[in-house]
């Protein structure tokens, strides 16, 4: 592990964390507005989070 690798890994984690955090926050807002649709929102949230996570892991392997 060299320093650029470590910095890169850190940047990836920041990016992925921000992305997943935003998805989670928006899902919370949506559930608060429409509690009856919480199941559907959760599914959509998990899919979006999984996609970001996939990109994040792919980038981590590259770093």
């Amino acid at each position: 592990m060299t320093i650029p690798n470590i910095v890169g890994a850190g940047l990836i984690v920041i990016g992925a964390g921000l992305g997943i955090g935003k998805i989670g926050g928006s899902a919370m807002d949506a559930i608060a507005r429409q509690p009856e649709a919480s199941g559907k929102i959760q599914t959509a949230m998990l899919i979006a989070a999984a996609l970001i996570e996939g990109i994040g892991f792919a980038a981590l392997f590259a770093a």
Binding site: G39, T43, I47, A50, E53, G54, I55, F57, A58, L60
Partner: protein
Amino acid sequence: MNTFKLLKTISLLWILATASISAKPALDKEEHPPQKDLKAEIKAYINHHLQDSYDFSLYSYTDEQGKHIYKGFPLPVILWDNGLKVFASAKFHHGETLAEVDGNYYKLYHGKIYKTDADGSIEYDAHHHPVNEKPLDFSLTKNVVFILLVALLMFFMFSKMARNYQKNPLPTGIGRLLEPIILYIRDDIAIPNIGEKKYKRYMSYLLTVFFFVWIINLLGLTPLGVNVTNNIAVTLALALMTYVITTFSGNKDYWKHIFWMPGVPWPMKIILAPIELLGTFIKPFSLMIRLYANITAGHVVLMSIIGLMFIFKNWIGSPLSFGLAFALSLLELLVAALQAYIFTMLSALYFGSAVEEHDHH
């Protein structure tokens, strides 16, 4: 009552006192610890755990005479090298000796089997990769054994469940636990993503993949050292199955949307075709990476936290390490189920996109 309280206080004080006394020598020792060596040892141990192995070892230690003691049992090694060679992996003595079968010598080197001469010499190329001949390896390694075990377990569990349903529409035994999960996969994963008409064809695959990934992830959390889904070959095989099913069940509309996207101007169609084609490969690729990386990351972090205990070597380290490891194990329990769910969910989504019928554009 008062004497009881007094006793309690005294015993508490005594425990505290002994704890701080026993902690003291450890603190003194920490001034010149073999830190580097220990860290390297923990790293090596974690790397060893992440690899597949030819024997099933529970734990190993070095005794007073400096001899390595391994607890576990060997697994069969099956090689194809001008004829079938079958022997127990105990012959390698954990890589310390050569295995001699029918006049051929095999050496276990960095988790791989190489054919060598009687001295066990290994030749290297410029990049320090061994150039010795590698026989075709069909060994029942630790991962293979656990895949087969889970397959057998699932076969007996679900066939018994199916027989019970023929006698009685109410679930019995393990079925009471599994029926809600199966119904959830049908009603919340398969039907919304694939559609009422065609979901039945894919249910068997979705259920199999969900329970396989889930059970094997849960086994990975036991102290047995099972780590099947941290092997990228296993997740590759799973993702490949999803890819093959998606590709072969793709209808006319699916291919049309890949190669000649309707509803966009023609220059865009030419640009979109390679991107969409690449997308069909990226989808299963991300399935493979996601499962592999999540489980590997979980195991590495968990083992590093347990390793903290040996680095701190005082009374803070062990409770801290225990508490963190406990919390992380709970999180991993969630991740085990979540990854199985995500894998099934995304597989269903891809199947759905392959069989979807579009009205018109």
